[in-house]
């Protein structure tokens, strides 16, 4: 920073406010709590775009991916320059090739496990843009395509590195075209959780792992080596993915007793997703074998069954999994596993 530009005054990272709010010094704690309450008032609502009409594909194209990867060249114009299309040879840029492969891995899971052709079920072309913006530590789904940053060189590396992150983003598209869960509060946490579930299943399917072999982590390998943490989220043990001096501790709960009420992050969509995430993990590990087969099938049936409202809450989603399990598997070990899992995370199913 040069003196003639601006003088830095203060920065209070949110996790420090959280720490300070629990301070043994009442004045410090009260001041921090006031700031946190002010933060909570600043909530923003997000409304997802309505599902668009699927493009018509030529006969013979069904059941095949239609991938295109673009390069934003560190700019923000989307989609950027096309650098690799379907069936084209790998390029020199590993980020481009990872995105291309990740789109394929996600397509493969949905088609081979569920007979779902692309994320809309009708062969939607899959589009990704990489190298978005400079030092951009994020990836997102913009309603039409996936967008990946290169990381901020401080906390995050290249967002195309973990295949479950690619699967997570595309699964936002799957949700948009199916249950269209509103991206706020409990329905938003379910939207996030469904992306973590299918993101993790993309990784497990690609590695041909059983539920016991899977790491159940989201974003493993994404953190910069300086960060004390293995991943962003753990479906197996929510709240344990990272514990870092700068970032603070993974805030995810794994039980309704610890549900976080907040206005930030669209009502804590990336926090409370830990609860349904853990329920899925419990179903998958109770049943054993390949998680995408029965546990994944149940979640898929719920998302595509047409019974979920956009503002679905946890208990309504849980009840829908019970109904979907009975419809597909009857009264057997599957229904017992589902009921047991939701009970374990404190979500009623009736």
């Amino acid at each position: 920073m040069t003196p003639q530009t601006s003088a830095f005054c203060s920065i209070v990272p949110p996790h420090l406010l959280e720490h300070l709010a629990r301070s043994s010094n009442p004045a410090v704690a009260a001041a921090a709590r006031r700031t946190l309450v002010a933060d909570a008032a600043a909530r923003t609502f997000r409304v997802l775009p309505l599902p668009g009409a699927a493009p018509t594909l030529a006969p013979g194209d069904a059941g095949k991916p239609h991938r295109t990867v673009h390069d934003c060249a560190r700019g923000t114009d989307l989609p950027g320059t096309k650098v690799r299309g379907e069936g084209e040879e790998a390029v020199a840029d590993a980020t481009v090739n990872r995105a291309y492969a990740g789109l394929g891995a996600t397509f493969d899971l949905f088609l081979n496990a569920y007979g779902h052709d692309s994320i809309d079920g009708s062969g939607l072309p899959l589009i990704a843009s990489v190298h978005y913006d400079e030092n951009y530590g994020n990836a997102f789904w913009n309603g039409e395509q996936m967008v990946f940053g290169d990381g901020d060189d401080e906390i995050f590396l290249d967002f195309t590195l973990p295949v479950d992150v690619i699967g997570h983003e595309l699964a936002h598209g799957f949700t948009q075209y199916t249950a269209n869960l509103e991206y706020f509060s409990q329905s938003g946490a379910l939207n996030e959780s469904v992306s973590d579930v299918f993101g993790s299943l993309v990784k497990q399917y690609a590695l041909d792992q059983s539920a016991e072999q899977a790491d159940w982590l989201i974003g493993e390998g994404l953190f910069h080596p300086n960060v004390e943490g293995t991943a962003l989220r753990s479906m197996k043990a929510p709240g344990t993915a990272y514990d870092d001096d700068v970032l603070g501790k993974d805030p995810q709960p794994g039980h309704m007793d610890d549900y976080v009420r907040t206005g930030r992050d669209n009502g804590g969509v990336h926090i409370n997703s830990g609860i349904p995430n853990h329920a899925f993990y419990l179903v998958a590990t109770e049943l054993g074998g390949k998680a995408w087969e029965r546990a994944g099938q149940i979640w898929y049936d719920v998302m595509t069954g047409g019974t979920l409202a956009p503002e679905t809450r946890f208990d309504e989603f849980a009840a829908a999994t019970v109904a979907a399990t009975r419809a597909r598997y009857g009264e057997g070990e599957e229904i017992q596993a589902v009921l047991k899992a939701w009970t374990a995370v404190g979500v009623p199913t009736d």
Partner: protein
Amino acid sequence: MRIRVRRTGGFAGIERSAEVAVTDPELEALAATVLADGDGDVRGVPDGFSYEITVDGRTVRCCDPRLTDAQRTLVTRVLKEGA
């Protein structure tokens, strides 16, 4: 002029905020533009960042990816210089 930027959401759900006291005319002009333009498109996207930009007590909101050039330049500079 004091400029505060709070960035929430994102894939990680990790929040960042920074505040700077500004004397640079270029940054002041940028902040004035952002204030005059008002709230951006506050309809965000899944995993996108949301931003609150507060300039001398007045706050405007915007979301990725639909930031104006002025909003993007300002949030980038404040988050970097206030870090």
